[in-house]
């Protein structure tokens, strides 16, 4: 793939704009609250787009195209079964507690609802996960640029990290959020022409139906038997593992995305943020999954669309988008496509860094190191943490380059921590008897059970490091099943421990628990109907592509 002057000019203009946004917003930042929480003043349309854009990192853009080619339309379950329902649930049921409690972060909500140790456990694991994810995003960007454009690995890392550092350091969360919205439009408008040209070349939807295996063109058909669908998943894994535990766990409790709703101007906007975000979210498969399906049809009809294969014989599905860009885009729009890819990496990185500095400053530094300092002091800590976060990300990117297996292990450990999290929040918000000890030991048990289940089961040559009790059809199926098993473990242990420990008095739980929150401060009719409308559209899409 060769870029010309026009392509480089487009990339340069993009860099100029994102850095410029940081400079423009610099004067608005006076306190720690401005820097880390945008002073809760961001309009609804921006918070909604930032909400899905924070998740629209490289993993989403490259990974979902890869999953589209590997698993076909089953991949849309991440959107139509997982994300959409979870986002509606977050808006209607959970946001009143996050926003209404005046917590500045998700870990801080845990402190208000439970106790300091539960908050600290969540804050430390979350902070570690965000900088780790940011580093992996950086590593993937540099690898991709080296592979497809021949750019120097070090140059890509330092340039991307430098640009993210400049705009997050200058404008804080507002700058990251503004850039996320710009990046959202760039990713959608930069990849949409690719889908259009690809679809035309493949012979339209008829061409896809003719050349792609039928098993990859359905959403629900074949889920009765994991051996009959390309994802190797059954109904239990899909509905309980992905939809209920993993998707709800991510969209409803991960501060990276929830933070975008928490900086809304009022509770009503905060509740509508994830619900409005669900509208473009359910349409995103057309942009991020379709390229994976299109390439399968093109491979059958034309040369040049083959994906690279490793020495071990594994197909590199992550190259779906780069191969399509190379084959279908001429120079000019190619610059926009490459900029969209770069934007997705930077969006993912900036989202992680801004969530990291908020959690570090409020939940670790202010809580354990220096309480009651001035707003100015926390502003400096937030800014300093941004630099540290970027430096750790760069270090992580280099570690990933040298020791890929360590990164895989870390990713696995973090997935164990994440799996049971939703059980803690669910019980905490909807059962006032849940205690801090119950939540803490529930989380610890859920994480342990996730690790043990991984050790006792295998898939695609991974797992079963204790003994092989059960073999799953795919790694995805294993991950989904581990999720719901650890959820159940956390749920049960939290209930049992709570019954034997002292709960907080009702007075301290007002506005934090469903039964102790007045009905009028829960949800308005407009928001409720908005949620129901999105739900109906999601159900219809599932039926159309059944």
């Amino acid at each position: 793939m060769t870029l010309l002057g026009i392509d480089y000019l487009i990339i340069a203009i993009y860099f100029l704009f994102v850095i410029g946004i940081g400079f423009l917003l610099k004067k608005q930042i006076k306190t720690g609250n401005d820097f880390l929480m945008s002073n809760r003043s961001i309009p609804l349309w921006i918070t909604s787009l930032a909400f899905i854009s924070a998740n629209l990192g490289a993993q989403e853009v490259l990974g979902m195209a890869a999953n589209g080619a590997k698993y076909g339309l089953y991949t849309v379950h991440f959107y139509w079964l997982g994300a959409a329902l979870a986002m509606i649930f977050l808006g209607i049921y959970m946001m009143p507690f996050y926003y209404g409690s005046k917590a500045r972060s998700v870990p801080e909500y845990l402190k208000l609802r439970f106790d300091e140790k539960t908050r600290t456990f969540n804050a430390i694991t979350f902070a570690a996960m965000t900088v780790f994810s940011s580093g992996v995003s950086l590593y993937a960007l540099a690898m991709l640029m080296e592979l497809i454009l021949g750019w120097d690995f070090n140059l890509s890392i330092w340039m991307a990290a430098g640009v993210v550092l400049i705009y997050t350091f200058l404008g804080g969360l507002t700058s990251a959020v503004y850039n996320e919205v710009l990046q959202f439009f760039l990713i959608v408008l930069g990849i949409a022409p690719l889908v259009y040209i690809g679809l035309q070349k493949a012979g339209g939807w008829e061409g896809i139906v003719q050349h792609v295996a039928d098993a990859k063109l359905h959403v629900w058909k074949g889920l009765g038997d994991p051996s009959q669908n390309p994802m190797g998943v059954d109904y239990v894994g899909m509905i309980f593992g992905l939809a209920f535990v993993l998707a709800f766990g991510y969209w409803c409790t991960d501060f990276l995305v929830v933070q975008r709703a928490m900086i809304s101007r009022n509770l009503d906007d905060a509740q509508r943020t994830p619900i409005i975000a669900a509208i473009p979210k359910i349409l995103m498969p057309a942009i991020v999954i379709m390229p994976g399906i299109i390439i399968l049809a093109l491979q059958k009809q034309f040369a040049g669309f083959e994906l690279p294969v490793s020495e071990q014989g594994d197909t590199n599905y992550n190259m779906v988008l780069p191969v399509l860009l190379q084959q279908l885009y001429p120079n000019g729009i190619l610059g926009v496509g490459i900029t969209a890819l770069v934007a997705s990496f930077m969006s993912g990185m900036a989202g992680n860094v801004t969530a990291f500095n908020t959690v570090w400053t409020f939940d670790i530094y202010q809580s354990h190191i220096k309480k009651n300092a001035s707003e100015k002091h926390y502003l400096y800590v937030g800014k300093f943490t941004t630099i540290i976060g970027i430096l750790i990300s760069i270090a992580t990117a280099y570690i990933a380059k040298g020791f890929n297996s360590i990164m895989d292990l870390l990713q696995l450990v973090f997935s164990f921590v994440n799996a049971p999290l939703f059980a803690t929040f669910f019980l905490g918000m909807f059962w006032k008897r849940t205690t801090g000890d119950g939540a803490f030991w529930g989380l610890v048990s859920g994480t342990t059970v996730a690790a043990i289940t991984h050790g006792l089961t295998g898939a695609e040559g991974k797992g079963a490091w204790i003994m092989n009790v059960h073999q799953f059809y795919s790694g995805t199926s294993q991950a989904f099943n581990i999720a719901w098993i650890s959820f159940v473990a956390c749920f049960v242990i939290t209930i049992v421990t709570s019954l034997f420990t002292q709960p907080k008095p009702d007075d301290e739980l007002k506005g934090l628990v469903y039964s102790l929150t007045p009905r009028e401060s829960r949800v308005t009719n407009t928001t409720l109907w908005l949620g129901i409308s999105v739900l109906i559209v999601t159900i219809l899409l599932n039926l159309i592509f059944f």
């Binding site: 026009i6 439009f185 408008l189 022409p193 040209i197 000019g332």
Partner: protein, 83 residues
């Protein structure tokens, strides 16, 4: 006297224009509009100057027109907004 009044009103106009531009630069719709209008125009110009002869590269023209249209819409939304 008229000259001074003219200068004052001219300066005041310039100051107002400056303030409007500065306010609009903090409006995300304005920035997004400006970005896509710029990229769209670049694609159109590139198509007209460099790649017009190659039929498969009309995607630059169509994308350029769409980006410009989207950019203009965002700019208009920003300009008609009272804030």
């Amino acid at each position: 006297m008229a000259r001074y009044i003219g200068t004052d009103s001219n300066n005041s106009f310039k100051l107002n224009l400056f303030l409007i531009i500065m306010t609009k630069l903090l409006d995300l719709r304005f920035l997004i509009g400006l970005f896509f209008l710029l990229i769209g125009l670049m694609l159109i110009i590139y198509f007209l100057v460099e790649s017009r002869q190659i039929t498969s590269e009309k995607i630059n023209l169509w994308s350029g027109l769409f980006f410009s249209g989207f950019g203009l819409t965002m700019l208009l939304l920003s300009l008609i907004s009272r804030k």
